[in-house]
Symmetry: C2
Subunit: 205 residues, 2 copies
DNA sequence: GACTGTGAAAAGTTTCACAGCT
DNA sequence: AGCTGTGAAACTTTTCACAGTC
């Protein structure tokens, strides 16, 4: 079972809920997400039997179940480290809060930035990391610092007890087992696509 | 063979080249990328025999080969559609140009933004899309428009001959076979991680 | 001696196809 | 009749382990 698909299901179900749709079947979900219905049924059956044969799935019920499975039935405090161009874009991205991710602290190493107000947060020095992480029970951090600093910043975060990290630098940091890390790099995404563009490889999907 | 790993190899090799390292073996590459050496050898062997038994891989040679395989031995013109907060962040991201991705045009539907100068580009109206795409041989676009507009914008791009799209909206657009699309959604990334954080699932890596 | 390249085995993922419930 | 849930089959990806080359 591939975890990355579950949040997609949850997202579509949220949309359906807003559209006042009460019941959905695996064909309809599959069409919206470009995933085969069999795949969807298999994924869901891994966690339980949420559907009704002959009918489909209750949108509300399935969404609740998925939110519970994904740990989205609560809100998560998040710290952002690095308040440069990218960090600011992250801080001002309006998509996190509605999904239950509250950015409660922003850090930077640069003395010039510390103390500055960014949105409704004051940029804190790295020295305050440990304290703030404890205080707000932060287990997720978003790192948007230059590649050269990424590894040390992440080591610092892990030492403070952060368990999951989204890294925006074009580098692959090393973390000990048990720490989740997701690297988001638009250049890598583009470079995978040029593979298909390069030499008549478009037919392959 | 998983294409997404190849750009990672290319990236590390570029770094090694800068570090004046001339030869590298699969163990060393694997350590940097947290990928097993066997995996790396298997991936590379899919395209040819680039290594020397008993020695390893010539950094320069392997990088050249990978760049060729990935279509990175040339530069690509890219259009950005959507010049809101996110689009501006994309336009000002300094990582694209050095990787050979030149952003040569910016579009927006909003009349208020059209004509504005953003960086060294003038925001163009969607009407000019077809012409500009042809003129600059654009086959890659980055889409940063609201979810509600994403599908129609992408349909428009595909109609103009764009073959690869990076989408930043939290939605799954439908594209016909043969069109490459990558969705970048930090919220989905976070939501996959909370799955592991949620109920003592940290042991699983 | 040290490493690659690669068949073969193992593990993981997706699809098929249908029994069985509503 | 219309759908889910699920074993079994098919396919894909990863790991193993070692022959072969430098």
């Amino acid at each position: 079972m591939v975890v990355a698909r579950l949040p997609q299901y949850a997202r579509v179900l949220s949309q359906l809920l807003e559209e006042r749709v009460e019941v959905v079947n695996s064909d309809q979900l599959g069409e919206r997400l470009q995933i085969t219905p069999a795949q969807i049924r298999k994924d869901l059956s891994y966690f339980g039997r949420f559907g009704k044969q002959g009918r489909g799935y209750s949108v509300r019920r399935l969404l609740d179940e998925l939110n519970q499975i994904l740990g989205l039935d609560r809100s998560w405090n998040v710290a952002v480290v690095g308040v440069g161009r990218l960090g600011r874009a992250v801080l001002s991205y309006p998509g996190f809060a509605p999904a239950g991710f509250k950015i409660v602290a922003a850090f930077d190493t640069s003395a010039a930035l510390v103390g500055q107000q960014v949105g409704n947060l004051t940029v804190q020095p790295m020295e305050e990391l440990d304290q703030t992480v404890s205080q707000h029970s932060i287990s997720i951090a978003i790192v948007a610092v230059p590649s050269s600093q990424t590894q040390q910043v992440i080591d610092r975060l892990v030492a403070c007890g952060v368990k999951a990290i989204v890294n925006y630098a074009p580098t692959t940091p090393l973390v000990r087992k048990g720490i989740r890390i997701e690297n988001i790099d638009p250049v890598l995404a583009l470079q995978s696509m040029t593979y298909y563009l390069a030499q008549d490889r478009l037919w392959s999907n």
